[in-house]
Amino acid sequence: MRVGPVGVLVRPRAGVAGLVVAVALLGVAGVAVFSGSLDIAPARVLAALAGDGTRVETLVVVDRRLARTLAAVLVGFALGCAGALTQSITRNPIASPDILGVTTGAGFFAVLLITHPALLPGGSAMLAAAAITGGLVTTGGILALSWRAGFDGLRLILVGISVNAIGMAGVSWLLLRTDIDQAAVAMRWLTGSLSGARMPDVLLLAPFVLAAGLACAYLARDLAALRLGRSVAPALGTAPGRTEALALLVAVVLASGATAVAGPVAFAAFVAPQAAMRLFGTAGPPPLAGGLTGALLILAADLTAQRLPAELPVGVVTAVVGAPFLLYLLHRHRRRTSV
C-alpha cells in the first residue's frame, strides 16, 4: 500500500482484519452512544452531539456516554498497545504490563493518593501523575533488579512477577490501614472501572495515546527486526538496547496512563495483542493492531458490564474473558512443546 512517499506492506489478511475490527469498533461505539438506561431518540442524540441538545441531553450523551466511550477506546488502545510492546521485546506472550507489576506499581501509587489525599493536593490529574510515576518507578526497579550485563526478557518477567506480588501486598496493606469509605473507593478503582470516566480523563489520555501511536509507527521496523532475535537485529541495522528501552518506556507510560483513568483492568493488555496477532496473522504481537483490538475489547466489555442486571466494573468482564484465553494459550503451548 502506498500513499505518496509512504509505503507499508499490508497483507490482504491484515487489511481485512483491520477493516473488520475498525467497523466493529465503530458499531459498538454507536450502540454505546445511542443507547443507555435513559431513552433518548437518535435524532436528539445527534443534536446533542452537534451541540444543540438540552442541558440534560448534553449531560447524558456528551459528558457521560461519549466520554465513557472515548475513554474506553483510549484505555483499550493504550493497554493493547502496551501489552504488544512488552510481549514483543521479551518475546514472551506472558509479559504484559499487568503481569510484570507495572500496573500494580501504578495502582499502588494511585491507592496511596486515594487513601492519603493530603499527600498531593489536586484532583484526577494528580491521580494520573501518581499512577504514571508509580509505573515508571516500578519499571525502573524491575529493570535494575533484572539487569545483569544487559537486558534479559525472561529475567525481567521473573523479577516482575515478584515485584507484582510485593505491590499487591502493599496495596492490601494500604487498604487495611485506611477507613472504610476510602477503602471502598480504592477497591472499586482497583477492579478496573470506567463508570466514572469523564471528558477530562479523555483529554488527559488522548495526547499520550496519540504520541504512543506515532512512536509505535516509528518503532515498527525495529521491533520487526528484533523478532528475529537479539543477534540478528543488529545485523539489520537495529540497535536492540535502544529499541527495547524506547518500547518499554512507551509501554509503561501507556499502561500507567490507562491505569490512572480506569484502574488496573485485568488481562486486557495480555489478551488483546495475542488476539490481534492471530486475527491479523502477524509474526508477533502487533502494537497498533493490538491497540485497535484492545479498544474493541474494552469498549465491548464495558458495554457488557453496563448492561448486566447489576452493573459490574469492566475489569470483571475482561477477567472472565481473559482467564480462559490464558489457559487456552498455556494448553496450546504445552501441546506444541511436548510433541
Binding site: 543488529p234 545485523a235 539489520l236 541495522g237
Partner: protein, 271 residues
C-alpha cells in the same frame, strides 16, 4: 589479489569481562573470495566473526569496512554494506520465507516507507538465487534444515551488501544439507562477486569450499592461505591436538582430513 580488501581487522583485542579471547589479531579478508575461519572449540573464531560483524566492540584495535572504521559508521550503513547471519537464528512462529526475505530490505528503508515495488523485486531475486522462491508462502517451521538456512541466506542477500558473514552456517545440518548450503555459498561468490566469510567446524568441508583458510588457536591467528597449503598433519597436530591424515581426494585433488587411528584401538573388522 588486486582488489582492495573490503574488510580488515587491525590489532583487535576483545573478550568477555576480564577474559581476553582475541589478542592483538590482524586479519585482511580477500575481496570476492570465500574465507573460512577454522580452529578448535574456544579458540575465538566466533568472537572474531562477532567483532568483524560489529556485534561486539573490540576493546582495542579496530575493524575497517570498505576503508571506513566500523565504529564510525551508523548501524544501518553497516547493514547496507555487510550482511551477517548469526549462529542458529530462530524466526518467530509462523513466519514465512517471503516475510523473512523481505526483512532483509530493512536497512534500505526509511521508517515511513516500509515497502516498495523495488523491495519486492529484490526480495524475490534473493529467494530465486537461494532456490526458495517456490517456498515463499511456506512457514519456516515447515522447512528442512537446509531449506531454512537457505531462506535465512535469502534475507542476507536482500540486504544487497557485498560482504557476507556466516557464523557456522552448517551446524546441525546433515552432510547433504551442509553441502547444499556450501554449494550456494560458492555460487554466490561466482555469480555476484560477494566477499564471504564463514566459520566452519568440518575441516574437509572448509577445505573443499574455501579460497582462503584462516586458522586460529587461543585467540591468535596461527596460519592462513590456500587450503592445500595450510591444512597439513603438522598444523592439525599443533592447533587441534589431532592426529590426522591429510590427502587429496581422488577426483578433485582437494585436501581431505581423516582422523588417524589410535595405535591401541584395533581397526574394526580386522582381528
Amino acid at each position: 589479489m588486486s582488489e582492495p580488501s573490503p574488510l580488515h581487522a587491525a590489532h583487535v583485542r576483545a573478550g568477555y569481562g576480564a577474559r581476553t579471547v582475541l589478542d592483538d589479531l590482524t586479519l585482511t579478508v580477500p575481496a570476492g573470495r570465500v574465507t573460512t575461519i577454522i580452529g578448535p572449540n574456544g579458540c575465538g573464531k566466533s568472537t572474531l566473526l562477532r567483532v568483524l560483524a560489529r556485534l561486539m566492540p573490540p576493546s582495542s584495535g579496530h575493524v575497517t569496512l570498505h576503508g571506513d572504521r566500523l565504529d564510525a559508521l551508523r548501524p544501518r550503513e553497516v547493514a547496507r554494506r555487510m550482511a551477517v547471519l548469526p549462529q542458529n537464528p530462530v524466526a518467530p512462529e509462523g513466519m514465512t520465507v517471503g516475510e523473512l526475505a523481505a526483512r532483509g530490505r530493512q536497512p534500505h528503508q526509511p521508517w515511513y516507507r516500509r515497502w516498495s515495488g523495488e523491495d519486492a523485486q529484490i526480495a524475490r531475486d534473493a529467494m530465486r538465487a537461494t532456490g526458495v522462491l517456490d517456498l515463499a508462502d511456506v512457514p519456516l517451521d515447515e522447512l528442512s534444515g537446509g531449506q531454512r538456512q537457505r531462506a535465512w541466506i535469502a534475507m542476507t542477500l536482500a540486504q544487497q551488501a557485498d560482504v557476507l558473514l556466516l557464523d557456522e552456517p552448517t551446524t546441525h545440518l546433515d552432510l547433504a544439507h551442509a553441502v547444499e548450503v556450501m554449494d550456494l555459498v560458492v555460487r554466490l561468490r561466482d555469480e555476484t562477486g560477494r566477499t564471504i566469510v564463514t566459520v566452519l567446524h568440518d575441516l574437509s568441508l572448509a577445505a573443499r569450499y574455501s579460497d582462503h583458510l584462516v586458522v586460529m588457536k587461543d585467540g591468535a591467528l596461527v596460519a592462513e592461505g590456500a587450503p592445500a597449503d595450510v591444512l597439513t598433519p603438522e598444523l592439525l597436530g599443533a592447533t587441534f591436538q589431532l592426529r590426522a591424515h591429510v590427502f587429496p581426494d581422488p577426483v578433485d585433488r582437494l585436501p581431505t582430513v581423516v582422523p588417524a587411528r589410535s595405535p591401541t584401538i584395533p581397526v574394526p573388522g580386522q582381528p
